[in-house]
């Protein structure tokens, strides 16, 4: 198997799970291991049993050779019964033998092939041959003997089939394979656990990253194994680049809104001056529309500015102890003239007792201004707005109820950026006001929700955890 093919087997493209891949690799490598074990044990067992059977065969052929004596009539041989019996006992093998003197068969099997090398010395030589349709393992020894006054070479060859040996080797290898398979079966659950353990840090890192707040762009500082450090570094680099890009965009928006607002006030002042100086009704009407449009643009720019501010401060959260009742009071004072212009009454309750929260004061102020501004904006003239600050459990709850046109459609969608209700009519707006409130609430781990009132109008509730 080429390394490439092995790799394809180990990492099949269809396995998308790392855990499955690990287990699959374990299985493939183990199968290779088991096959290797089968072959190795078979080979070793074959060699070992061949060696031991060769030793017996060699001893037997030597014993036969030693039983040969030279007598007057030629050769005398005492073929030992026990030797043959012993040879046969090692797996019921067939046995063939021949005794030759100078190449002539004296006794035994005619036509038994002669040894390829003439044995010399005392030790028997071993070889293989086919005889009578059986594969034989043979051993031969040669002894020089004085026969009829002449020195002749007496060769004894003894052969046996090796069916038993092959069977033993096969059985041993099979036995080893079964043991290996049993170990594998035991190791599989362990491998699953190991795969789980290896992948656990990845899992934990994923959990830590996904548990972060939507605006949390701080670098991930989670202890991870060395192998995951590059991933962590890459992730943090990405976060840093993302934050830089976001900061750039927000700074740009902030800058843009700021730069637009100043000339707009100048244009408004000029337009108001022109309005007071002219008496032509057509020009006055035109100038009034102009002032109105400029007011609208100025308001939008200021909300975009607020939104950018809130986004920026969410990232660089600068929290401190704030008294919500004091802050609400000051925002209320700032908005009251606007309400009075349209004869709207604002009734405030619960502002006389302290309501400490931990918050970014600037953000909270923006949120309160937007929530109040919104209530005033959508209230009818001569309307009434009720502001109520109260403690509920571990939360400070600011409730603002108006008697305006109420809600149409899903209230939660109104919190989306640039989304305005279906019933805004001629009221100018950017669709950012309530988004800002919701984002400030989220940054303070609070909640903001809009609900319709039974008597008409809307109820806006801002909850913040108490300090």
């Amino acid at each position: 198997m080429t390394p490439r093919a092995l790799r394809r087997w180990l990492e099949p493209a269809r396995l998308r799970s790392l855990r499955r891949r690990l287990v699959w690799q374990f299985l493939v490598l183990s199968a290779l291991l088991v096959a290797g074990l089968f072959l190795t044990v078979g080979w070793v067992a074959e060699r070992a049993s061949r060696a031991s059977q060769d030793a017996v065969l060699g001893a037997a052929v030597t014993a036969i050779a030693e039983g040969i004596r030279s007598v007057d009539e030629g050769l005398e041989m005492d073929l030992p019964y026990a030797t043959f019996s012993m040879l046969g006992a090692m797996g019921d093998e067939r046995i063939f033998y021949a005794v030759t003197v100078g190449g002539q068969v004296v006794t035994g099997y005619e036509g038994l092939p002669p040894p390829p090398d003439v044995p010399d010395g005392v030790a028997p030589v071993f070889w293989r041959a086919d005889y009578q349709g059986a594969a034989l393992r043979l051993a031969s020894v040669a002894r020089p003997m004085l026969i009829d006054q002449r020195l002749s070479q007496v060769t004894v060859s003894l052969g046996q089939t090796r069916q038993g040996q092959a069977a033993i080797a096969r059985e041993t290898a099979l036995g080893a394979t079964w043991v290996a398979l049993a170990f594998l079966a035991l190791a599989l659950p362990v491998a699953l656990l190991a795969a789980q353990a290896v992948l656990a840090p990845v899992q934990r890192l994923a959990e830590v990253v996904s548990a972060r707040g939507p605006r949390d762009l701080s670098p991930v500082r989670h202890p991870a194994p060395r192998e995951l450090a590059p991933l962590l570094r890459a992730l943090n680099g990405l976060i840093a680049r993302l934050r830089a890009a976001l900061e750039l965009a927000e700074t740009f928006i902030f800058e843009a809104a700021h730069r637009i607002r100043t000339p707009l006030s100048l244009v408004r002042t000029e337009a108001e001056l022109a309005l007071s100086e002219t008496t032509d009704p057509a020009t006055r009407a035109r100038l009034r529309r102009m002032v109105r449009a400029i007011n609208e643009s100025s308001r939008s720019a200021s909300q975009i500015l607020d939104h950018a501010m809130v986004m920026y401060r969410s990232d660089q959260f600068d929290a401190g102890p704030v008294d919500l009742s004091v802050l609400t009071g000051s925002v209320l004072r700032a908005i009251r003239p606007l309400a009075e212009m349209r004869d709207i009454t604002i009734v405030a309750r619960g502002l006389d007792s302290a309501c400490p929260v931990v918050a970014d004061e600037r953000m909270l102020e923006i949120a309160l201004r937007n929530i109040l501004d919104n209530a005033v904006k959508y209230s009818d003239a001569d309307g009434r707005i009720t502001l109520d600050l109260a403690h509920q459990g571990r939360e400070a709850v600011l409730t603002l109820a108006d008697e305006g046109r109420g809600l149409q459609g899903d209230p939660s969608r109104l919190l989306d950026r640039f989304h305005r209700g279906a019933n805004v009519g001629d009221v100018a707006g950017s669709g950012l006001g309530l988004t800002i409130v919701a984002e400030v609430a989220a940054a303070h781990r609070g909640r903001f929700r809009l609900t319709p009132r039974d008597t008409g109008g809307t109820c806006a509730v801002l909850s913040l955890p108490l300090a």
């Binding site: 041989m77 073929l79 063939f96 006794t107």
Partner: protein
């Protein structure tokens, strides 16, 4: 009777298609139109007939052509002439082993749970009967002297009464009887005392025979007093109704030959051979064989403590060795054949 069977066999042999090995008898068991299983055997037809008839009765579609021949003729028929049979049965264990070792036997897997492991070799040679080898005597010769219980007693009795036993002792002639040579080799291997017995028998001018049957016939006719090494199954036929015939208990050892069967590789009807083999190893057949020979192969251990069954084992191959045979026969001849010994009958 035996001569009659022999004569019938010879006639049949003359009628049968050309073959050069000699058969002693031939008989058909079962319907002639059935599938005929060819069996070549050393076992006396009459002794084996109940078993074969029982097989034919149990398997109506099958018939057995039973051909009886001597062990050396069987060896010649199978190894040299390529005679085709479905089963070969012989008491000459060394020759059977040689044939199987040389690859003439097919493998078989009959159901034989009771067969002792020493009564089979590989899955090719199957022991079907145990034949104890005994010494028989005429009661008249031992009226006034104690009946010997061991070979040593026998030697003593023969030595003490040379006149009584002169020319009246008989045994196999190993030069012509395959079984005789085999038993001689076994005696040589088992006991050193045997050669003393051989010397004594030689001095008593022992008669030499080719076959157990002839020896027993002459013993019953009063021409012999002691016959050494006869196959018990022949004696068993006469003993119950012949009060003169006594078996000398060989308490030192009693050899027992395993009569074995194999299925030749080139059998014309291998399925028939397997069927017959399975039957021969089955309890009903074993019971019939035991009834004929008096010894059970499957329960041999319980039969007698001195019984020494000869194992079916590769060691048997040494007996067919030319040099070994020559050496042993030379020694036997020196011990037993005295100058005045007449030739074997």
């Amino acid at each position: 009777m035996r001569r009659l069977v022999l004569a019938a066999g010879l006639i049949l042999a003359g009628l049968a298609p050309a073959r050069s090995f000699e058969i002693e008898a031939e008989r058909l068991f079962g319907p002639p139109d059935g599938a005929v299983i060819q069996v070549l055997s050393t076992t006396d037809t009459q002794a084996f007939a109940p078993v074969l008839a029982d097989f034919a009765a149990r398997h109506p579609g099958h018939a057995i052509r039973y051909v009886q021949a001597s062990s050396t003729q069987i060896q010649q028929a199978i190894a040299q002439e390529g005679a085709r049979f479905d089963m070969v049965i012989s008491s000459a264990m060394d020759l059977q082993m040689r044939l199987v070792n040389d690859g003439y036997a097919a493998s078989a897997a009959p159901h034989a749970p009771d067969l002792p492991p020493w009564a089979r070799w590989r899955d090719q040679l199957w022991g079907i009967a145990l034949e104890p080898v005994v010494t028989l005597a005429s009661r008249q010769a031992f009226v006034d002297i104690p009946v010997p219980r061991t070979r040593r007693d026998l030697i003593a009795a023969l030595r003490a009464n040379p006149a009584r036993f002169q020319g009246r002792v008989a045994t196999y002639d190993p030069r012509i009887a395959g079984v005789g040579y085999f038993l001689l080799a076994q005696d040589d291997q088992v006991s050193d005392g045997f050669w003393r017995l051989a010397e004594v028998m030689g001095r008593l001018n022992a008669q030499l025979y080719c076959c157990s049957g002839d020896m027993i016939d002459d013993l019953r006719a009063g021409r012999l007093s002691v016959v050494y090494n006869v196959v018990a199954s022949y004696a068993a036929r006469y003993r119950p109704d012949d009060p003169d015939l006594i078996q000398i208990a060989d308490e030192d050892y009693t050899l027992a030959i395993v009569r074995s069967a194999f299925l030749p590789v080139d059998a014309p009807d291998p399925a028939g051979g397997r069927l017959l083999l399975s039957y021969l190893l089955s309890p009903p057949a074993q019971a019939l064989i035991e009834a004929a020979s008096g010894v059970s192969l499957t329960r041999s251990a319980a039969t007698a403590p001195s019984l020494r069954p000869i194992r079916l084992d590769a060691g048997l191959l040494v007996y067919s060795d030319r040099l070994r045979r020559g050496g042993l026969l030379a020694e036997w001849q020196a011990a037993l054949i005295q100058p005045s010994t007449p030739p074997a009958r």
